[in-house]
Symmetry: C2
Subunit: 115 residues, 2 copies
């Protein structure tokens, strides 16, 4: 059993190619013994974005704060705001973008292999 909050979790820049202005935290993951999936949190600065990419693991999201968008395979932006849930299927090209002047922050849950 573990209880934590984001102010207790290290924050590191996302170094993946195609990412800009993204900080990553891992409040619940394999270091805690999670056997199947992990909770990552991404904080995107204004104009920040994750890579526009494709992989064989899904994402389950919950938006903690701010306003952004989820870009689909066609390049269409789908608005995301605080309180929204999102699901990206395995093999679906996608990108998260901050579309506001404030921080955009979300939980991004993934299988542990993609932690």
């Amino acid at each position: 059993m573990k209880i934590t909050s984001l102010d207790q979790v290290e924050s590191i820049p996302m170094r993946m190619e195609g990412a800009a202005g993204v900080l990553k935290q891992l409040p619940l993951g394999t270091a805690d013994g999670t056997p199947n999936f992990s909770f990552r949190v991404f904080t995107l600065e204004p104009d920040g974005h994750t890579p526009y990419h494709i992989h064989d693991t899904e994402h389950l999201n919950y938006v903690l704060q701010g306003e952004g968008a989820l870009v689909d395979e066609a390049g269409t932006l789908h608005p995301l705001k605080e309180g929204d849930f999102a699901f990206v299927s395995p093999g679906e090209k996608h990108q998260y973008r901050n579309t506001s002047d404030a921080l955009f922050q979300m939980i991004c849950a993934v299988p542990i292999a993609y932690e």
Copy 2:
């Protein structure tokens, strides 16, 4: 790809033995094609609680609102408040309780077999 929010998701009473005053929602689950795990949301009324039980699937939680507690195997209450993350290991006896006079609401992510 799916985007939703709790006001668009059906809410049903949790009928499990030992549960009281708990509403369940499933914003992201197998009906959406989630291949590995699902996001459930539980809303506990004041004095509401989940079963004090044990099972072989883990829980990954994020507290959306309110104040409650996570009861461990020894019966000790660990406070949970808005913004907290929690992890319960497979095989670990546990219970969630609302310890306040307002609603207590959390994401409870599980493998799809326990959806």
